[in-house]
């Protein structure tokens, strides 16, 4: 069984060969309009996908059989590692992550191309060529500088084990989801490039990849939130987002992708923003690749050092080729990319989408600027300067608040045109709710201007979105009941109402963020039997518990928690010594309620049992995870609409329409 792992490298080389063939054959088939070439190209892509998947299975076998002849297995696993974490080590290191990335890339490409060939085989052939080209790049990395199958001359008896921080359930899901998000965007990117290449710039490229865009965006969203949840429960600093370069690397493409998701609606409905949409998808994919470059190159200091490696510099030429190629193609197709329509009025949903796009892109560029600023500063001044969370918060929060307000106003405004009177009619109730929230909270003693503004905007938006659901019950057959009309309207417009549910989730998340304005913390040296106070809580040192296993030594502090005199049970923060890595790590204990989290971490123990305790009160953090769940519900609802998206038949299209190739 263990010897099967030896197939890994030959499979990768074979995958590279097939990906190369896929690129050339599909391009040949598309350009010469020869169905045979396109057909063979697609087959080569499927073969590449199968071989890369085979290589990943080979690495999993090597991990599962503790085959320490492989450097990767030695570096990221050990005999004491078992169950899901043993196989999760596949993405515990740089080479394995890259392999997982390529498995997804070729797998997604194969699935997307298989579906798209039925709709428009020449567009699919061009997209195959682009996707094959991207796969060639990643496979070159895997075959040369980041080979996960490098063998060791001296085979050790045990490995160094997986970083203990990565041994948490969140880490099993968070990286694959982020990769799925990043990689998922290669599908709409490839189809956009294919459409530019063919010059046939109808809506087909984003229609045939709509599910992929939505899937990639959903995966990235959930991946980012899970990353935050992991940081919150594992890192022990009481927060969930640190504006670290790697976090920013996932956030920037998310921002532009969110802009894209909104702005394709305009292209679909009004045949406008064609140029802008291809630019946005180029930007999104470019930022995803740029983020990978930033984090793999070690050019910026980040907590995610476990992903660093020698491959960073390989990304620059790839990124440059992609961006220059994309921009040249866009420049060559400016004619067909012109809008076919005009705004009926500035006071319209279309304008709201325009502002939405401006805010998202400004936010993405701002995050990009803050992320690369240390490099720019060092290049220009020779001194290393830093930009940390306070900088990002002060520049990002105003944009974020504007976006939240827009989330409320946007859906209230009708497409095409709205008179001032009508606007006032629909906006007054949400506005009153927002104002009352602000006044009420101020009367209750809340004094943070930012938080008051955030809470009122959240209330405004929540009421606005809920009122849209109310209006759904008024549309349709007058004879039917309100409930029937509601079900019918919502059922027929799942993307719109699913989107509103996502918006409600975002509002809840922002409420959670705003709660951090009231965060407090205390750091105390606690002797056995002593108590500490934070907020309404009293924490009493009850006992110390020591246990030992072959993997780790565990010291657990039992803290009795009282809130305003009522017992809330015992919290058990821990310090664990991981023997394989010879590393101490804190395990956080959290008492979470919708109002606030009591978050306790022990940073060290003295010999006499004295514990250095860091306690935080994190108000409203609970709502972030609830909001994320609501977002997932909304996304799932939108997916049910995508299954029943109507097939469109283009009649008498003015531009050249490719003749379907029968295979």
């Amino acid at each position: 069984m263990s010897s099967l792992a030896a197939l890994g490298r030959p499979l990768l080389i074979g995958g590279l060969g097939f990906a190369f063939c896929a690129t050339l054959l599909s391009a040949f088939g598309a350009v010469t309009k020869r169905p045979g070439g396109a057909h063979l190209g697609a087959r080569a892509l499927y073969a590449a996908a199968a071989m890369v998947a085979g290589a990943a299975i080979a690495l999993l076998i090597a991990l599962g059989t503790h085959n320490f002849a492989y450097e990767y297995v030695t570096s990221y696993s050990s005999r004491s590692l078992s169950g899901p974490y043993l196989y999760g080590a596949l993405w515990g290191g740089m080479e394995g992550s890259l392999l997982l990335w390529t498995v997804m890339l070729t797998g997604f490409s194969a699935i997307a191309i298989r579906g798209a060939r039925r709709r428009d085989s020449l567009l699919a052939a061009r997209a195959t060529s682009v996707l094959g080209g991207i796969a060639v790049f990643f496979l070159i990395l895997l075959v040369w500088p980041a080979d996960p199958f490098t063998t060791l001359a001296d085979v050790p008896s045990d490995g160094r084990g997986l970083n203990p921080l990565l041994q948490s359930p969140g880490m099993l899901i968070h990286p694959p989801l982020l990769y799925a998000g990043f990689v998922g965007f290669s599908v709409p990117f490839a189809f956009a490039m294919a459409a530019l290449w063919s010059g046939h710039l109808t809506d087909e490229w984003f229609r045939s990849t709509r599910r992929w865009t939505l899937f990639a965006w959903s995966a990235l969203s959930v991946g980012i939130v899970l990353g935050g949840a992991w940081a919150y429960t594992e890192l022990g600093w009481g927060g969930y987002w640190a504006w670290d370069p790697v976090e920013n690397a996932s956030f920037m493409p998310w921002l532009t992708a969110t802009a894209f998701l909104h702005s394709v609606v305009i292209q679909e409905k009004r045949r406008m923003f064609k140029l802008w949409n291809v630019t946005l998808i180029l930007m999104t994919y470019g930022l995803a690749v740029f983020g990978t470059f930033l984090t793999r190159s070690g050019i910026l200091s980040s907590v995610h050092t476990f992903t660093e490696g020698p491959i960073g510099r390989w990304f620059l030429p790839f990124l440059a080729a992609m961006l220059i190629g994309g921009l040249v193609m866009i420049a060559l197709r400016l004619g067909p990319l012109r809008s076919e329509n005009r705004f009926d009025s500035l006071m319209s949903r279309e304008s709201m989408f325009l502002i939405n796009n401006f805010l998202f892109v400004a936010a993405a560029l701002t995050v990009l600027w803050g992320t690369i600023y240390p490099i720019v500063a060092e290049l220009v001044t020779g001194t290393r300067l830093s930009v940390g969370p306070p900088f990002f918060n002060s520049v990002f929060v105003p944009l974020g608040l504007a976006l939240i307000g827009l989330t409320g106003i946007g859906p209230l405004i009708s497409w095409r045109r709205m008179s001032r009177g009508a606007f006032w009619r629909v906006v007054r109730v949400p506005l009153a709710a927002g104002v009352l929230t602000s006044v009420g909270l101020a009367a209750a003693g809340v004094r943070s201007a930012g938080a008051l503004l955030a809470f009122s905007l959240c209330m405004f938006t929540a009421v606005a979105v809920i009122s849209e659901f109310g209006r759904a019950a008024r549309i349709g057959d007058k004879a039917a009941t309100g409930a029937a009309r509601f079900a019918r309207t919502v059922g027929r417009n799942r993307r719109r109402y699913g989107g509103y549910v996502v918006h409600l989730g975002v509002v809840l998340i922002v409420i959670g963020f705003a709660g951090s304005a009231f965060r407090s913390e205390r750091q105390v040296l606690l002797d056995p039997g002593a108590s500490m106070a934070i907020g309404d809580y009293t924490l009493t040192y009850a006992e110390l518990e020591r246990t030992s296993t072959p993997e780790k030594e565990r010291i657990a502090l039992h803290l009795e928690v009282e809130r305003k005199g009522d017992s809330r049970g015992v919290l058990v923060p821990q310090r664990n010594f991981h023997r394989a890595q010879r590393q101490w790590q804190s395990e956080v204990a959290i008492d979470s309620t919708p109002i606030e989290d009591l978050y306790v971490v022990v940073t060290s123990f003295d010999r006499d049992g004295t514990a250095a305790v860091r306690a935080f009160i994190n108000p409203l953090t609970w709502w972030i995870w609830v909001g994320a769940s609501v977002m997932v519900g909304g996304m799932a609802f939108i997916f049910t609409a995508e299954r029943r998206a109507p097939v469109e038949v283009t009649v008498a299209a003015p531009a050249a329409r490719p003749v379907p190739i029968r295979t």
Binding site: W237, S302, L354, I355, F391, V439, R474, T650, A652
Partner: protein
């Protein structure tokens, strides 16, 4: 007028409500927390001292609490740490010389963005389609209304996109009137435009229905045009194969297997 007054009062409420700002606490622990959030950790790459989990960072945080207890202000503590660890320790660039650029660039993005949005909005909103181009007869209006009703009842699963888009626009305009987002006057102005668009699409589809000279002879459609004609025909024929009541595919004799409608 009354509404305006409410709005003004409401805005005043927001301003009054948000005006008082909490004075920063001088408790040494709170001062230390704020300082730790303003400086990067010398021990963990990319994290603030506040967020850094290393033991050395915990020691430095303790030292900052001592400095604050001894009466040092936030800026004094940060200045002291900058002397020790260099300017890179500041998590927020100072607003002087090159540090100013960090703050200016986002502002430039926002201002440039607003410029682009205004430019795009002005350019895109110039109306290309003349208002009320061709007068629409009551019969034509009726025809469009029938098509809209069919779309509303989901009786047309397959449809030419131009026609569908125009019909959907009319449907949305009617819905916006129902929900109070559109005034009757606005509706009329916009409706005429989309009715004209829908009619153009309908007429084009009708003209495609009678192929005059199949095979590419003089005046007749050839090659691609023929393909498009056929596709259009198929689309329209498939639409007639679907039951108008329940949306199921009809039997060969024209009756519906589900609801037995003729």
């Amino acid at each position: 007028m009354k509404a305006r007054l409410v709005l003004v009062l409401a805005l005043a409420g927001v301003v009054l409500g948000t005006a008082p700002v909490d004075a920063a606490s001088t408790d040494p622990q709170d001062v230390a927390t704020r300082v730790a959030q303003e400086i990067m950790s010398p021990f963990c790459p990319g994290l603030t001292l506040h967020d850094c989990p290393s033991d050395a960072a915990a020691d430095l945080r303790d030292r900052i609490v001592e400095m604050a207890s001894a009466g040092a202000s936030e800026s004094e503590i940060i200045a002291e740490l900058e002397r020790e660890y260099g300017p890179g320790i500041r998590a927020v660039p100072e607003s002087t010389s090159f540090g100013l650029l960090a703050w200016m660039v986002p502002l430039i993005f926002v201002i440039a963005g607003i410029g682009v949005v205004l430019f795009a909005a002005r350019r895109l909103s110039r109306s290309r389609i003349p208002e009320g181009e061709e007068p629409i007869s009551p019969a034509e209006r009726e025809q469009v209304a029938r098509e809209v009703a069919m779309l509303r009842d989901e009786r047309r699963p397959l449809m030419d996109p131009t026609k569908r888009r125009a019909l959907e626009a009319i449907m949305e305009l009617e819905d916006d009137l129902t929900t109070g987002k559109l005034s009757a006057a606005d509706l009329e102005g916009l409706r005429v435009r989309y009715e004209a668009e829908a009619l153009r699409a309908l007429k084009r589809l009708e003209s495609l229905r009678i192929p005059q000279n199949i095979g590419g002879a003089e005046g007749g459609p050839s090659g691609r045009a023929l393909d498009e004609q056929l596709e259009a025909e198929i689309a329209e024929i498939r639409a007639t194969m679907v039951c108008e009541t329940c949306g199921d595919v009809k039997r060969a004799d024209g009756t519906c297997p589900t609801c037995s409608a003729p």
